[in-house]
Amino acid sequence: MTDKKKKFLVPSITVLVMLIIILLAKVGVINNYYQTILMTICINVIMSASLNVVNGYMGEFSCGHGGFMAVGAYVSSILSLILFCPGNSITGHALLPPSMAIVAFPFIILIGGAASMVVSLLVAIPSFKTRDDYLAIITIATNFIITTAINNIPIVGGSRGLMGMKTTMSFMAKTVSLPWMLIWGFVFAALTVVVIHRVMHSTLGMGISAIRYDEISAEIMSVNTNSMKLLAFTFSSGLAGVAGGLFAHMLGFINPSSFGIMKSTESLVMVYLGGMGSLSGSVISAFIFTILLELLRPAQILKWVIIPLMLILIMQFRPEGFMGPRELTQVFPRLKNLFAPNRNLIRPIAKPTEVRK
């Protein structure tokens, strides 16, 4: 198989699988229960992968991811209420016709992401000066601040929460009868993975990893560490915001307490379970973690004893998480054959003139 073809192999397979699943969902083989689980998986993939940019690739310790999720969730929810929910609490009437829902939805989500990007400056700017544990508490504090702030904004319902986002979803289903929530979940999860992969594997993004291994020499070697940090934080928070938007529209109801320290902790666990700086690790751990939670639901209270125990054991045997800093293709080199090789990594044949012997 030529490299040209290979380039499309994995993406097309993934898309195919997603299409099959969506089809099955449409005909009802995959019922709502499985659909919500798949949705949750998608959201968790976004959460863990995005947090991995800061906590994994850059090696900082940010514990406030839930807060940024909240921002995205609220902004996108408010938008979709204003645009599509008749008799909403803000404008009182819908600004757009229901048929527009499908077109507008991705933008609603993305704007939510953009909003949490802006808020993430709260963390990014101090991060220039302070490091690891000081940054850790700045993020925790930010999380507290965001949730308390929302609690005090009556227009979005405060602790009473915000609802009505489901109307947007139902409008989509009315226009074209498909399991839209699932579709958007897949779309954004896939996008997240692609985007993070591209950025982190470009020479630009590698600057972020350079900070993790040695910030000083990075700076000395012409890497603008401040802008790298800015990039990492805004980037990861933005994606968290996207996850929040999806979360809000999946539930159709959000309130601040859904985005507390617990949410952040979950994302943290997923990142370190998967392995710092390993994208495939984050994805895998998101899958495993979500499914574990669901399977152990019958265990009731014991669930929250069993899961931590399992995690502790896993860490005892794999002190770097599932993947460590490696990707799946590095753990199983065979998989490399599925992807087109990066030509830049192949040693050029033409040798320069004067070579040091």
Binding site: T203, D214, N344, P348, V355
Partner: protein
């Protein structure tokens, strides 16, 4: 060899809190020369380098490189002005491949932004190719291409030194600061190192300023030498003058390497 000034340091003084680290250091590096900065441990040699590479902001005095004043510029800016340096204790990104190490050091002329990286547009592809080609070429010239995809932490110490120097050169510097390149090398490797540095100097036409304790290295490489002790300059001149200079001998008293 032209005689124009490349780096000029005037009345450089630096304090850490109350501690006076450097007092009135003056330097004048000519383009293309190999200069040495020597002195007993803790004399403040590395501090000078840190000031030049922008890691500290000098308390007083000016650092002028190619006519531009560099005081208070951020290190990455200074790097992009083509000042490369190595470190006393090797500071490679030991968990990234040698190739990546070289590529990342070309951040100063990436030529594309996040947007291009996201969409992998033409601009991105071309620049990535350019960066990698340059990197490969550099590695070839340093005869490091075989270990291009290895992790530095798995390479022998001597090779790591070379990689670090190669990385510094990937900034295409006009001025290269070498902080004790011989540190950790056995005396048998020294002559090798000397020819190595000579080779770099000739092939890359780079001005080299080095801190070194191994007098053998200094004496056989440097056109001019400057001696500091307790943050003050105590002597400067050609290797020959320095060897005879009583002040230097006094500073190094009991240090046999000198003669």
């Amino acid at each position: 060899m032209s005689k124009e000034t490349l780096l000029e340091i005037k009345h450089l003084t630096h304090r850490f809190g109350g501690l006076q680290a450097l007092t009135d250091i003056n330097v004048n590096l000519k383009k293309g020369e190999i200069a040495g900065l020597i002195g007993p441990n803790g004399a403040g040699k590395t501090t000078v380098f840190n000031l030049v590479s922008g890691f500290y902001v000098p308390s007083e005095g000016d650092i002028i490189f190619k006519g531009t004043r560099m005081n208070g510029l951020k290190p990455h800016v200074i790097a992009s002005l083509q000042v490369g340096r190595t470190f006393q204790n090797i500071r490679l990104w030991s968990d990234m491949t040698v190739l990546e190490n070289i590529c990342i050091s070309q951040h100063y002329h990436l030529g594309y932004g996040v947007g291009s990286a996201l969409f992998k547009n033409k601009k991105y592809r071309e620049n990535e190719k350019k960066i990698h080609d340059e990197a490969w070429q550099l590695l070839e010239r340093f005869n490091l291409a075989d270990s291009a995809l290895d992790y530095p932490k798995n390479l022998p110490y001597g090779i790591q030194r070379r990689v670090e120097i190669a990385r510094a050169l990937s900034l295409q510097p006009e001025l290269l600061l070498l902080d004790e390149p011989a540190a950790g090398l056995s005396t048998s490797d020294l002559s090798d190192l000397i020819t190595y540095i000579k080779w770099i100097h000739d092939t890359f036409g780079v001005t080299i300023w080095m801190i070194e304790h191994q007098m053998q290295v200094i004496m056989s490489l440097c056109d001019s030498i400057q001696v500091v002790d307790f943050g003050k300059e105590i002597a400067r001149g050609t290797p020959e003058d320095i060897q005879k200079n009583p002040a230097v001998i006094k500073a190094y008293l009991g240090n046999e390497e000198i003669s």
